[in-house]
């Protein structure tokens, strides 16, 4: 009969006490598992969000803010950069270094069910040429569509929405939505733009893009308040093309009908080329105006002189260019460049990491308390078990043997509780997974084990050894003769 079996019989004999102490250990371990897995998933999502391109270029200001609103669709967008600067990356002085440059125009949102979703104006390259994160085999992840397709450059009022947006709002391919000007919250008076037609729903990416809506940048530019004031020398020509003051918009074809620039259908607000003179269109929502326009012609793209973009996602031809380009951009007066990976790392290290550390410390404290519970439980049983230990000693068990039996008992309870905790923890993750995915876009897998979990087993054995040491010492010191004489 092995010492393990002797210890196990002792655990069984005090089944209720063993069960309760084991359960407290299980709950502690389950909490640690949940913290580890959730943090691991959040960390992965954060990292994935910043992958797929080398640089983010935006207006000068806070680097972290630029990353937060460009990658994570959080915080307020900072100022815009000129469209001409964007062209420098596609056709100008920086073009030789770049593989893909995706402009992002921010400042609009869509409110549904009390939840605000960011609306970004961008180009088709966002989903056709950029990738995000990596598969388990190291290959880059391509954007996929769970329904529909990417929007087309020629169809100004087409849109693609993230998987979480689709799940939460019920919007799908063929539906239309009207973005609101500014980042609106529930209760805000919002000025709604004309509608975009959804032509695609992205497959889940586990990135913040799951919670965003992407519209054709050309349509975005044409929305009210999104054109900056035309330069004086261009005004006459531009006004000739785009002044709608004399039109009646009631008869105007709208994008909601089929999403193309040729067939708009909106209900009365002035048109973007009229240059509503909102320089910081990203920062506010407009009061609603009643407009009574009517025109039946196709939309023309907004002149480049009136365009601005909020940020650029820059994928370089070679990573070797990144530092040089980074320096050149930042030395200039127009914009700043940031390495998203670096900023994400900073974000994780400075903000997310400490939170995880605090949570882990708290949950580890629960495990330690559970360990103390085991110690108290076994120690309290020692007086009634003194006779039992004395009998074992009389049968030839040495002091070290009875000490080992008590330690093994502590280890059995800890490990059994710990393993139950692993199952409970991952089970809880599995139960939470659909809710978390729907609410945040963070994908939690039941079996998403973290490396730190491997430390749990030796950690628990160590803790159990400490917890069992005091009662084991009591067993070690049992006065055999006296305990044998005493009635059991």
């Amino acid at each position: 009969m092995s010492l393990w079996k002797i210890a196990w019989r002792s655990v069984q004999q005090r089944s209720l006490s063993s069960l309760l102490t084991g359960l407290s250990m299980a709950l502690g371990v389950a909490l640690v598992i949940m913290v580890l897995v959730v943090y691991g998933a959040v960390e992965q999502q954060f990292r994935q969000g910043g992958e797929g391109y080398h640089l983010i270029v935006g207006a000068k200001g806070g680097k972290l803010q630029l990353v937060l609103n460009t990658v994570y669709h959080l915080s307020q967008p900072i100022e815009n950069i000129p469209y001409s600067y964007y062209k420098e990356f596609t056709e100008g002085k920086f073009a030789a270094f770049t593989e893909v440059v995706v402009p992002c125009c921010m400042g609009d949102s869509y409110l549904s069910g009390g939840q605000t979703y960011r609306v970004l104006g961008t180009t088709t390259d966002m989903f056709d040429r950029l990738v995000y994160g990596k598969n388990s085999d190291g290959s880059p992840r391509q954007y996929t569509f769970q329904a529909g397709r990417n929007f087309k450059s020629a169809n100004f009022f087409e849109a693609v929405i993230g998987s979480v947006v689709a799940a939460k709002t019920g919007l799908g391919v063929g539906d239309s939505f009207q973005p609101a000007h500014g980042i609106v919250e529930e209760g805000d008076e919002a000025h709604e733009h004309q509608a975009f037609k959804i032509v695609g729903v992205l497959g889940p990416t586990g990135t913040p893009n799951d919670r965003a809506m992407f519209v054709n940048m050309e349509g975005f530019f044409l929305l009210e308040g999104h054109a900056k004031e035309a330069p004086p020398e261009e005004s006459p020509a531009e006004k000739k093309d785009h002044d709608h003051d004399d039109h009646d918009h009631q008869a105007h074809d709208h994008p909601a009908s089929d999403g193309t620039a040729e067939a708009h259908d909106h209900e009365g607000h002035d048109h973007p080329p009229a240059a509503d003179k909102h320089d910081d269109h990203a920062h506010h929502a407009h009061a609603h105006h009643d407009h009574d326009h009517d025109h039946g012609h196709a939309h023309q793209p907004l002149p480049e002189s009136q365009r601005e973009v909020t940020a650029l996602l820059v994928l370089l031809k070679n990573n070797l260019f990144s530092q040089g380009l980074f320096t050149r951009i930042n030395e200039g007066q127009v914009a700043q460049a940031v390495f998203p990976v670096t900023e994400v790392e900073t974000l994780l290290t400075k903000f997310v990491g400490p939170i995880q550390t605090v949570l882990l410390a708290l949950t580890l404290l629960i495990i330690v308390v559970a360990g103390i519970g085991i110690m108290v439980s076994i120690y309290n049983s020692m007086s009634e078990r003194a006779h039992e230990i004395a009998v074992m000693r009389a049968l030839g068990a040495g002091r070290v043997t009875v000490l080992a039996v008590v330690l093994l008992e502590s280890i059995i309870i800890s490990l059994a509780g710990g393993l139950a905790g692993v199952v409970i923890g991952h089970g809880a993750i599995g139960l939470m997974s659909p809710y978390v995915l729907a609410e945040t876009g963070v994908l939690l897998h039941v079996l998403s084990f973290q490396q730190q979990e491997l430390v749990l087993v030796p950690g628990l054995v160590l803790l159990a050894t400490f917890a069992g040491f005091l009662p084991a010492l009591a067993a070690y010191r049992t006065d055999v003769a006296r305990a044998l004489i005493a009635r059991p």
């Binding site: 009969m1 092995s2 010492l3 079996k5 002797i6 019989r9 002792s10 069984q12 004999q13 006779h387 039992e388 009998v391 074992m392 000693r393 009389a394 049968l395 030839g396 068990a397 040495g398 002091r399 070290v400 043997t401 055999v480 003769a481 044998l484 004489i485 009635r487 059991p488």
Partner: protein, 222 residues
């Protein structure tokens, strides 16, 4: 086989006074011999068995079993010696409640170099008439059955010496004789020396050698 020489043991009373319990100049039991020790309650019978078994260390003297002076062994050595050479039957059986009858017998073998021999344990339980109750816990066994398990456990390691401390004290008269017969037969068949402590005259009178503790323990005699 067993030889006690100049053995002394005393305890310190709560008031600080020394209370001599054992003072045995000489006492011997031959190999395979069966002897009974009688004595009034509190005269040191159990202490004597504890000293022989190496559970209690004497103040002076030697306890030689099979040529080994147990008192000279370190504690771990005494434990191992006890596990392998000495069987012990307690007055209150002292079966472990969490273990089945078979496991209690296996426990008696668990602390030897050879480890537990399941076949031997089953065989012994068969011999004491409990082959059909191997998996029963002590609480599910009658008092007589519990004491038979205790006998099987004491004999499990094929000891050279069996110490029995009032083995019939808690057994009803009907079972007493059966138990004594069981112990004696097994000791005889396995050539185990038996030192049985009892205050039951009906038990003692069955043995050819009956010693009164007072007759060779000077601490009590004085």
């Amino acid at each position: 086989m067993l030889e006690l020489s100049g053995l002394k043991k005393s305890f310190v009373e709560p008031n600080g006074a020394t209370l001599p319990i054992l003072d045995i100049p000489q006492f011997k039991v031959a190999a395979g011999e069966q002897a009974v020790i009688r004595g009034r309650s509190g005269c040191g019978k159990t202490t004597l068995l504890h000293v022989i078994a190496g559970i209690t260390h004497p103040d002076a003297g030697s306890v030689t079993i099979d040529g080994v002076d147990v008192t000279r062994l370190p504690e771990a050595g005494r434990d191992r010696f006890r596990a392998e050479k000495i069987g012990y039957i307690f007055q209150t059986f002292n079966l472990l409640e969490g273990f089945s009858a078979l496991e209690n017998v296996l426990l008696g073998m668990a602390f030897t170099r050879g480890g537990a021999d399941r076949g031997r344990a089953c065989e012994l339980l068969e011999q004491v008439g409990l082959g059909h109750r191997l998996d029963h816990r002590p609480a599910k066994l009658s008092v007589g059955e519990q004491q038979r398990v205790a006998v099987a456990r004491a004999l499990a390691n094929r000891p050279r010496l069996l110490l029995a401390d009032e083995p019939t004290a808690n057994v009803d008269p009907g079972n007493q004789q059966q138990l004594v017969d069981l112990i004696r037969e097994h000791c005889q068949s396995e050539e185990v020396a038996l030192l049985l402590v009892t205050h039951e005259p009906t038990v003692a009178e069955q043995f050819s050698r009956v010693e009164s503790l007072e007759s060779f323990n000077q601490a009590v005699a004085s």
